[in-house]
């Protein structure tokens, strides 16, 4: 049965309310906070700086290293044990790949640009919020970027294509219709995609429609990210 209306009353392509700020961690070279609904991500950028261990150094280009971490009190239920684990490491990797297309780190051979993403509260869409925060933090740090990058999870809930799934929607599986949780990231100017993962059941046609919705939603998110970057320099 098609999902006639979303649990929280949003339109299918509407994201939850977003709050975005940059420059929130004074010691970092660049930083940002991106909050979407009840998911909050902090991102702090340090770099370019010396890369240890030496064997990881690349003489042709600087290396981007992203670390994703859920704070112990950020989980939906029980405490999250510190230490990350494999899920966090994979998210770190896809985050790096989502951001690298807009960066040119060849000016920083043998150096590293560290991006630390920490989430103090979560309600689905965490890797996407992390990417949105990281993109703002890199711009805040003054890196050259061809475009901003925004990410959102699109999906197929009870037959309807929706953007920015909540935890409740993610869990909404039925016997016949699964939820295809699909985090995506886009660069708005080219309309090209830099992150794509999917968990669940989908048809080719529905996936295409979901990706197109994701692209339009990401454009809207980028407008919010840009406003946050500009806001830092408004007034005294």
């Amino acid at each position: 049965m098609p999902y006639p209306k979303r649990f929280d009353g949003r339109k299918f392509d509407e994201t939850r309310p977003i709050v975005a700020k940059v420059g929130i961690i004074a010691r970092a070279d660049g930083s940002a906070m991106f909050q979407i609904g009840k998911t909050t991500a902090y991102a702090a950028v340090y770099g370019p700086r010396t890369l240890h261990p030496k064997w990881m150094q690349n003489p042709k280009t600087g290396v981007l290293r992203c670390e994703y971490n859920m704070l112990p009190f950020s989980g939906h239920g029980e405490r999250v044990r510190p230490g990350g684990g494999r899920r966090a490491r994979e998210i770190g990797m896809v985050t790096e790949n989502a951001l690298l297309p807009v960066l040119d780190l060849r000016e920083y051979p043998n150096a590293v640009v560290d991006v630390y993403i920490d989430l103090p509260q979560t309600d689905a869409g965490t890797r996407c919020a992390g990417i949105c925060a990281a993109s703002m933090a890199l711009a805040d740090a003054g890196f050259e970027m061809t475009d901003m990058v925004a990410a959102v999870a699109v999906g197929n809930v009870q037959g309807s294509i929706v953007a920015d799934l909540t935890y409740e929607e993610e869990q909404n599986k039925t016997e016949t219709e699964g939820v295809a949780d699909t985090p995506v990231a886009f660069m708005p100017n080219s309309g090209k995609l830099t992150l794509l993962q999917m968990d669940g059941h989908n048809t080719r046609a529905d996936l295409k429609r979901a990706l197109e919705m994701g692209r339009e939603v990401c454009k809207k998110i980028v407008a919010i990210q840009k406003a946050a970057l500009r806001a830092k320099y408004k007034g005294e």
Partner: protein, 260 residues
Amino acid sequence: MIMSDEKQHVLKYLAKGIRYDGRKPLDYREVSIAYGVSRSAEGSALVKIGKTEVMAGVKISIEKPYPDTPDKGNLMVNAELRPMASPLFESGPPSDQGIELARVVDRGVRESESIDVHDLVIKAGELVWSVSVDLVAINDDGNLFDACSLAALAALKDAKMPGKTENNKADYDNRTNDKLPLKHEPLEITMFKIGNTVLVDPSPEEELNFDARLTVACREDGSLCALQKGGAGELTIEEIDHMIGIALEKSAWLRKKLAR
């Protein structure tokens, strides 16, 4: 960055009774406390002292008690120096600095009996409440000890108990309005001695150029419940007593900021 003769320069300032940012030795920077900053936590707080920022989150669950203490619940304080907070923090296992910070703040919360762990028992020998306080450094601009201690207490005060499911697990979807059984309000004040001057609320330069430091955990009734001396310098008994006096005064002042 440590300059080879920076300490001399810091002492020049202290000889005139001021510090690198113009403060007097016993002045704190601006302190602010925000509650309920993480809705996934049962209790949380964000503390700012100057530009230093620490977030604390309390998670409460139902567990079996430890076999040798069937009539006690669990209370644990953990601290993480997340690399986001400073270019000097690395990811990976905790550093010595992080371990000392966690243990010193834990001691203050635990030894003060801020929560009597007997009050956390649901069914002796079988079910107890388990309270975890996690402290996360978000920006390190000096004085993480005091900021963590303040954040921990603020988060404990903010916390509300989760409900209980039929099979005796914590029910996070149905939170109650019951607060934690908090009996005391411990706060830790750390004093640094540089040359002959005792100062509070150190900046990063002062933390790199000190002789000795003393962290004192004080309860609201003026009793002391934990001490930690750090640094390779020496302290006389009179100096320690003097510092304890300062700690009692400053902790009372900070405690007033927590009132809610």
